[in-house]
């Protein structure tokens, strides 16, 4: 019964959006409504995560709710499996932190008016795409998320920035149109849009050959949203025009939704189909190498805080792709059991990396925002000496930056360690090399912000910029919240990795998912031989899960 509560992930942000729309013009009331609903949302997310991790029996920790009680392939299904639950858990905390930052730090030009209703609607789209169990609903969720993001993008823009807005809006619209076409064609080929039903068809090897080009085309759609090579060109040009807080929200959520959907579609739905994987996996791996390396080279060459951080998003996406690619690529030189464990670890690494990146990337953007507010500029040539003027900010930035670069014992290290190790095990040595090189260059570009912005003496004479707003307590608190979260992911990495691995198991062996959504009788009796060993590698996700999130 309680599993129907997962609908709250859509209902709560929608209600918050509508209510704060009515409170238009009264910023304090809006902020109060927002905080109440965001806290409630965090509560539901933690409940879902705990419930999912405890489920071991027949339901196998998958919460399903059929809208209007229509049976599965015909109605709309929403599903929370361990992967969705993890994403929701971290996303809800990140959203809360960014919201606190926005209400305390943003000027009325950006944060007033319709900003807060849009914020909640964006969140609704993001959470809906995490819980939907239906390809067409995913499109609708994407549209809601993007529509809110278009509007947030143009709030308070200067005439110059309107030009960038067109780039963002039109490229995303083309992507969405391609997505809806693909969804229609997949329905034409397979006769269903329900993710579990499509997975069932793929697992039992009944995928018609003619559907494979359409499925491969989905890579183009999600690749565009995730900003992978060669579809990333829109991102560095657009993200830096937004206020840093909005940039942080977009950086923390939007590209990660793309990465999540790529795991869901290419690993869970079509991972068991050799025909699809043999086309998609090499593309993903090559793209991962180019994405992570070109992205970080771009970051090293930039000279503005927001530009460095935005182009960094791309390079980090490369690591997620790396895990996804290793999770479905053909492996040579390993026994079937080793292959399975290696794939499982690679996908777990990708999931862990997405979670880590949501928190840390967002945190860095918020730090960047505070730096800009302190100095009145985000050009590294013009700011400096922030270490003395804002020591707390400097400390928080340093922790977040080192997490991103992946220094042990901070969170970035563990994600990268698992990914690099698995790429080595699978003999993808070029991937290993580029991943390590990218990591070094990441550290370099982060130190660049550190030494120019914080450490160097103020450059030239310090001009009091009209837009200088010292960091408020709320702004610092939200950054500190994210830093503490990132630290907990570093020091509690074992717990997070266990849950990620549990999620990866559920994704690589989708039988419990199919059974939970479609009912037991539809569950395919057996998987292709190589997938059956998963059961042997079961581990207890509850071993250290109790303390995961207090």
């Amino acid at each position: 019964m309680s599993q129907h509560l997962i609908v709250l992930f859509v209902v709560l942000p929608m209600l918050a959006g509508i209510l704060s729309l009515f409170a238009h013009g009264r910023r304090t009331l809006q902020a109060f409504i927002g905080l109440v609903f965001l806290l409630a949302n965090c509560g539901v997310a933690i409940w879902a995560l705990i419930t999912v991790c405890q489920g071991h029996g027949a339901d196998a920790g998958i919460l399903v709710s059929q809208m209007g009680n229509w049976p599965a392939p015909f109605g709309i299904t929403i599903v929370v499996d361990p992967l969705s639950a993890l994403m929701l858990g971290v996303e809800s905390v990140v959203c809360l932190a960014v919201f606190i930052y926005c209400i305390s730090q943003l000027s009325d030009r950006f944060g007033g008016g319709f900003f807060q209703p849009l914020y909640h609607l964006l969140m609704m789209g993001v959470q809906w795409s995490f819980i939907t169990g239906d390809l067409f609903n995913l499109f609708v969720a994407f549209e809601i998320m993007l529509m809110a993001s278009y509007a947030m993008f143009v709030v308070g823009t200067t005439p110059q920035q309107i030009r960038q807005a067109y780039k963002y809006v039109i490229l995303n619209l083309i992507g969405s149109t391609l997505f809806v076409t693909c969804a229609g064609l997949i329905y034409g080929q397979l006769g269903t849009l329900n993710m579990a039903d499509i997975t069932r068809i793929a697992v039992s090897g009944q995928l018609p050959v003619s559907s494979i080009p359409v499925i491969a085309m989905l890579l183009l759609v999600f690749g565009g949203k995730t900003a992978i090579f060669p579809l990333w060109y829109w991102l560095p040009d657009t993200y830096h025009t937004m206020p840093a807080a909005v940039g942080g929200l977009f950086a923390g959520l939007l590209t990660k939704v793309g990465a999540y959907v790529m795991i869901r579609v290419f690993v869970m739905m079509f991972g068991s189909s050799q025909e699809v994987s043999s086309i998609v996996a090499p593309l993903i791996i090559v793209s991962a190498i180019v994405t992570m390396f070109l992205g970080v080279l771009g970051a090293v060459s930039m000279h503005s805080v927001r530009r460095i951080l935005s182009i960094h998003i791309i390079s980090q996406v490369g690591y997620m792709l790396m895990g996804i690619g290793l999770g479905i690529a053909a492996v040579s030189g390993l026994t079937p059991t080793q292959t399975l464990i290696s794939r499982e670890m690679a996908v777990a690494g990708a999931i862990f990396f997405i979670l880590h990146n949501m928190v840390v990337k967002c945190c860095l953007f918020l730090c960047g925002g505070l730096m800009i507010d302190h100095a009145g500029s985000d050009d590294l040539e013009k700011i400096g000496g922030l270490l003395k003027r804002a020591p707390w900010l400097a400390a928080l930035f340093m922790i977040a930056a080192l997490s991103l670069a992946g220094l042990p014992p901070l969170s970035g290290f563990f994600g990268k360690w698992v990914l690099v190790k698995e790429s080595f095990n699978q003999q993808q040595y070029s991937l290993t090399g580029f991943a390590v090189a990218t990591s070094l260059l990441t550290l370099l570009s982060m130190l660049k912000i550190w030494s120019y912005g914080f450490w160097s003496p103020p450059q030239g004479k310090h001009v009091e910029h009209p837009e200088v707003r010292p960091a408020t307590a709320g702004g610092l608190f939200s950054v500190a919240l994210l830093v503490v979260f990132a630290l907990s992911m570093g020091f509690g990495a074992q717990a997070y990795m266990n849950v990620s691995r549990y999620a990866a198991q559920r994704v690589l062996d989708p039988r419990p998912y199919i059974a939970a959504v479609l009912g037991e009788q539809h569950s395919p009796p057996h998987l292709p031989a190589e997938n059956t060993v998963v059961a042997a590698a079961k581990l207890n996700p509850l071993a250290s899960n109790g303390e995961v999130r207090r």
């Binding site: 067409f136 609708v140 529509m147 083309i174 076409t181 229609g184």
Partner: protein
């Protein structure tokens, strides 16, 4: 019937790509709208040839001779979403016209490079 629809989808996609490659924002936006229509037509074509079938409305006849209603439901949703997006893009056009007094992409002020 399906062949005819396929050709139409191809022509619509081609014209919308042509429009979107222009440097004039009105044309680009029209191209995006047209692309949406092409997609809708492609989806409706997946319900196979409707010749000899009944409209998907129950009442009087059995469900066996009906056209597959799901693609129609899909494009209904897609059309509604398309409306919202078109309204947004048109508003954006008006705003940028008021601010910059031009809709040529080359003339819209470019941000100074860092």
């Amino acid at each position: 019937m399906t062949l005819l629809t396929a050709i139409m989808v191809g022509v619509i996609f081609a014209s919308s790509v042509y429009l979107m490659l222009g440097r004039e924002l009105k044309g680009v936006c029209m191209g995006v709208f047209l692309l949406g229509h092409g997609a809708n037509l492609a989806i409706i074509a997946t319900s196979r040839s409707p010749i000899g079938l009944q409209p998907p409305v129950l009442g009087g006849h059995s469900w066996q001779g009906l056209v597959d209603p799901l693609p129609q439901a899909l494009i209904l949703t897609a059309i509604v979403i398309g409306f919202a997006v078109q309204a947004f893009l048109l508003t954006l056009l008006v705003v940028s016209w008021r601010r910059a007094k031009t809709l040529e992409l080359n003339e819209l002020a470019v941000e100074p490079a860092h």
